[in-house]
């Protein structure tokens, strides 16, 4: 026993010696560089001078044009089909409905640009919708992503642009620049996923829709496809530390075009109503949802009006009806009768 311990101590000493030697060699190499000054290093700033403001390259100013060029698209295609699809399957196990409603769009040549407008509960939503949508749209797809969250550092921004083809937009006020750029992208055939709620749900219920999708559709004339995503909130909702695998359902709705004379606000309300009806369809069935829609009785995505523990309580009941509830069902165990 003592022989073994002596041998392992000797080995550790050897490793430590090698480490010391490597460290001193590195210092020897780097010493001349450390001594080098400007222009090899950043210039010192004289006192009393006013520096011109640095050009911001983060947030909504993050340049993502490179992510729509061929090499990045090829890389993204590999990422989407490989690790992303595997991750979505493992974590979210999606069931997809309503793709037939996109049939007429898919038949058009050239393929028209489309604005997908899903509800938003989780970071899983984006990879999920990318992996379940028809490949034709996926090939030329931009994701509108919160500039303050996904593009606040260079690494996050680069990864988001490469893997998701994310495009930075301000959550609260869409700047003229990002709005013009999105219009330009749509006009050149890029489809867009934009979350009209503006961000993930803070409490598990949905939020009021903002008018971004309706505005862009009105300006460009492309249809908005309402999408309802169910189940991602309990997989990796806002505030969760790590994902909890479960089942999800994605329901695509019929494309909507702005009607003659319809302003952005009204069209936005129609998009919200369509996603709400799809939510009802996902939890019940097509006929019940249509009847409720006609009577204006689809359960609201934003949940009950009251704001107390009862809201959370109702959320738990609501989730039991959907895909998230399926995970909680106990497996039946039959008694062993010998």
């Amino acid at each position: 026993m003592s022989d073994k311990r002596t041998a392992s101590v000797a080995q550790l000493r050897k490793v430590a010696k090698v480490g010391d030697a490597a460290s001193s060699a590195l210092q020897t190499v780097l010493r001349p560089a450390r001594n080098l000054g400007f222009p090899y290093r950043r210039p010192s700033r004289p006192k009393g001078v006013v520096m011109p403001p640095e050009k911001n390259t983060l947030g909504s100013d993050f340049d993502t044009a490179w992510a729509r060029k061929a090499p990045a698209r090829a890389a993204r295609s590999v990422i989407t089909r490989g690790p992303m699809a595997a991750m979505v399957k493992a974590i979210a196990n999606p069931e997809v409905e309503g793709l037939d409603r996109l049939h007429d769009l898919l038949e058009q040549d050239p393929l028209p640009a489309v604005i997908f407008a899903p509800n938003h509960h989780s970071h899983v939503d984006t990879p999920l919708i990318i992996s379940v949508m028809p490949t034709e749209f996926r090939k030329k797809l931009v994701i509108a992503a919160a500039a303050d969250y996904f593009f606040d550092t260079r690494v996050k921004g680069t990864l988001s642009a490469l893997a998701l083809n994310a495009f930075p937009i301000e959550r609260e006020v869409t700047t003229r620049k990002s709005s013009d750029e999105l219009r330009r992208l749509i006009d050149t055939g890029w489809s867009l996923v934009i979350y009209p709620e503006g961000g993930r749900s803070p409490d598990g219920w949905g939020q009021e829709f903002k008018g971004g999708a309706a505005y862009l559709s009105g300006r460009t004339g492309v249809p908005v496809v309402p999408v309802f995503i169910d189940g991602t909130g309990s997989i990796y909702g806002k505030g969760m530390k790590r994902p909890k695998p479960g089942a999800t359902k994605v329901v695509f709705g019929s494309p909507l075009w702005p009607e003659d004379g319809e302003n952005t606000r009204r069209f936005n309300a129609r998009i919200e109503a369509a996603v709400t009806a799809l939510g009802d369809e996902a939890l019940t069935d097509f006929w019940t949802a249509r009847k409720n829609a006609a009577a204006g009785a689809n359960p609201k995505l934003t949940g009950p009006e009251y704001n107390s523990w009862r809201r959370q309580w109702a959320l738990a009941e609501h989730r039991k009806l959907g895909k998230a509830g399926q995970r909680r069902r106990q497996r039946r165990r039959w008694p062993d009768l010998g």
Binding site: E97, G98, D100, R101, H103, D104, S254, E281, D285, F286, W287, T288, R290, K291, A293, A294, A295
Partner: protein, 529 residues
Amino acid sequence: MPRPGFVHEVDRSTPPVLFWRGENFSLEKLPVGRSRVIYPPEPLPAIKDIDGAIRHALLNPHDQDPLPALLFPGMKLTIAFDDVSLPLPKMRRPDIRQRVIEAVLDLVAAAGVDDVHIIAALGLHRRMHEYELRHALGDRVYDAFHPRGMLYQHDAEDHDNLTIIGTTDHGEVLEINKRAADSDLVIYVNINSVSMDGGWKSITTGLASYRCLSHHHTGETLQNTKSLMGHREHSALHKSIWRLGKVLRDHGPKLFQIESTLNTDMFPEQFSFINKREWEWTAKDRATYLGVTKGLNMLPVKARRKMFHDIQSPHQMTSVQAGETSAVHEITLAKVFEQQLVPVEGQTDILTLGIPFVSPYNPDSVMNPVLVMCMGLGYLFNMYRNKPLVREGGVIIMTHPTYRDFNPVHHPSYIDFFEQVLTDTTDPVVMGQKWEKQYAEDEWYRHLYRTGNAYHGVHPFYAWYWGAHGQQHAGKVIIVGGDAPTVRRLGFTPASTMDDAFEIASDVVGRTPTISHLHVPSLLVADVQ
């Protein structure tokens, strides 16, 4: 702009012509100078905004109030739709029926109607499998209605749920589905692939009982149906159905008929050579043809069958109209003929037909020998207006392997019909008198029809009657490439090759007969002057 159909006179430079042979094809050389090939018109362009067109049809019907005006809360509404026999091959999802029914349900929901039943109008056809219902109606409609018992299939033998509407002046009793009869409104969702379908035929056959159908589905009636696809006044079958339709209109529930027509874009891109004229085949088409035919020869029959029945056709809607049945049907017929009609001068001594892998009675199933007869003499022979393409006493040559093979789940009574009835007689009138009742009232067949996926016991008789006029009209029927004993059982003559068939035909039509070849697919109706 699609090109119209045309008649090509075969000359020395004409390449061999494509023939169906069941689950394969062949190229046959037709005699020069006395043969002609009738090519179908190219597919008409589909409607661009199909959902918009459907909605427009529902809101602007012919000779009828707009659909929303016919709906009210508390009413009893029945929606009936054509079964799996249409269209062929099955169309890519979403099916027309799904689109129409979803559009109807939108209006129905807005009107606050709760009591809605959706019924597959089978007549005496087999019940549809769940996957077929899902294909025709879409998952949304199926999942919403089927679990609640609001989507089901018509049962022509459920006497508790059938009701008599009235009797025609010819003594024909109209007995239809009770739920439909008791409804405040019946909406019928139809697909018109051929001019024979639609109109009053939709409800008076699709939702009728055996008793009702037995008035006009007889050997005599079909022998006197001289124009199944053309003029109704020359069709004893349609005259009877229109009489029943009058009874339905006068004494039955309020009806709202929705009819749609399809273009003839029947096969997907990988089979593009099928729809082309042979001299227009590109190198790719030729390579595809060779690859397909050689490949199919190496496959077992079951695999070939599966491959063909899995085809989902790209054909699309060319028109949709709604309203009063007769008014709607006239527009539908005009649209069907716009797509399918080809003017042809005069009759010939011989008509050649390639028989495909599918008929209206074997979707996802086996094309058994009885259905080969039905498809050849019942359907393809009848694809004419005015006069048949072949003269009376002429010869019909068909190409098909004619296996002695049946699907026991879908066609149980066909097996006994082939072994018992056809060994006794091939005369439709005689077999009707001698055998039909026994098959129609057989308890086991009735049970299989009502609870399984079998065609009604009497259905092989109806399939046989369908070819009654062709059988009576032709002097001889030859099947090229068929199983010889099976072909003889059908009362036809087997031949190994097309040249042999012409040789055999010379006994009837002489050494230099004139020949017409009906180039199917796609669908065409020869307007014979």
